[in-house]
Symmetry: none
Subunit: 124 residues, 4 copies
DNA sequence: GTGGTCTAGACCACG
DNA sequence: GTGGTCTAGACCACC
């Protein structure tokens, strides 16, 4: 389910949260469903449990999962909606990136082509 | 010329390289022009000289500036072109971002609106 | 009678003791009345019997219920009085909370309004 | 500055965040001021640096402090305002507590007396 | 079994 | 020097 790149400069626990987001958005992780246990995932990915825990804590804080000590962690019912809300809040990053490309003299059509490709990947 | 935000999470030396890029693209820093000296900039911005040096080294590595030992650093003649080439090389990041937004269920029109806004900021 | 929120961060056994207190105070559970059996409650709430037992043990320790081996658990005659005594003993927590709000700069009237609302809920 | 109770049931890192809040509200920690370094505090309190770090991370997340890697952690300019906002958001806890006391049969005057005492402590 | 906290000690990037 | 991440291993409360 998860794929960790130890060479990447992005922290392992961040890779975990990002990939969890994707799994939720793609519906592989469904609302109410149990997340893999901290220990189980730690052995499966050969990662220290503390690192998994850190990722889970972050996801819990963002309301994407909730943890029930003694029972496990579960995907929140409104996880997808929350992610979308978070993403929309940061729409400014898109503007910034476009601005950078414009400043560099990249034609808008080139930029939009890339956007189209990205959107096609998800059949939208 | 430079504006450092010490509260920002992006490293100071990165803020320097990014802003230098902008200064080159906007033509404020012209080809052949001398960059501010490390010492001068370090006092002006109240920043450790090592940090300035690190930024300059990075810019040098990317061929955006060149250092003439004993005389200082100067903007490369093809700096603008190089930046544009670098940006185009990373066009995949645009695709990735679009893909993320698509996955989150953000309508393409919303995304494109943000792109338009970004492009307008530079009068393109 | 009982309503367990598995998403809550408060432990299940604590939810049980708290709700039992409320049931005693509201008179739904009367002095001498039998508590639901551990087994019955465990199936009704789909909760591990150990968890129910832990709650009952705690209530017993506080003298709110007593267990008659072989016959079950029963509400103590002075349960209501005991709860009130316990609450009064911890009146310091109210002071502490008020202190916190004062320190944060919350006007006393705002605080008292909330208190009024809380008291009204019980028709006092 | 800090006082840790290792017997307390509240986690050490939480004691740290709570006490930091108090220090900010009382003005002992002023906006822009540097927080004690993770290492320094860890030796002063005889606590593992990771635990301090955890507290600082939490404070950073809540916007009460900001961390500048390589320079240190600093109190946010709007830290006091943020704390007040957080507190006001949880005003429901006051209502709940009042409700509990009302249910237990504690006279409102007794409750309000405790509130008065709490508010007096801060000369409000 | 589960998640949550803490310690110890290491390494990295940044200034 | 600073904060940030990761590992290893331990202990706790809860279910």
């Amino acid at each position: 389910m998860y794929l960790i790149d130890h060479q990447s400069r992005t922290a392992v626990y961040e890779q975990l949260t990002e990939q969890t987001e994707r799994l939720i958005l793609t519906g592989i992780l469904k609302p109410g469903q149990a997340m893999p246990s901290v220990r189980a995932l730690s052995v499966e990915l050969a990662i220290n449990p503390n690192t998994i825990q850190k990722a889970y804590t972050e996801l819990d804080r963002r309301g994407l999962i909730y943890s029930a000590p003694g029972r496990g962690c579960f995907v929140a019912g409104d996880a997808q909606a929350r992610i979308k809300a978070e993403v929309l809040e940061n729409i400014g990053e898109v503007e910034d990136m476009a601005c950078r490309y414009a400043l560099a003299g990249v034609e808008k059509s080139v930029f939009v082509d890339a956007v189209d490709k990205g959107y096609l990947k998800n059949g939208a």
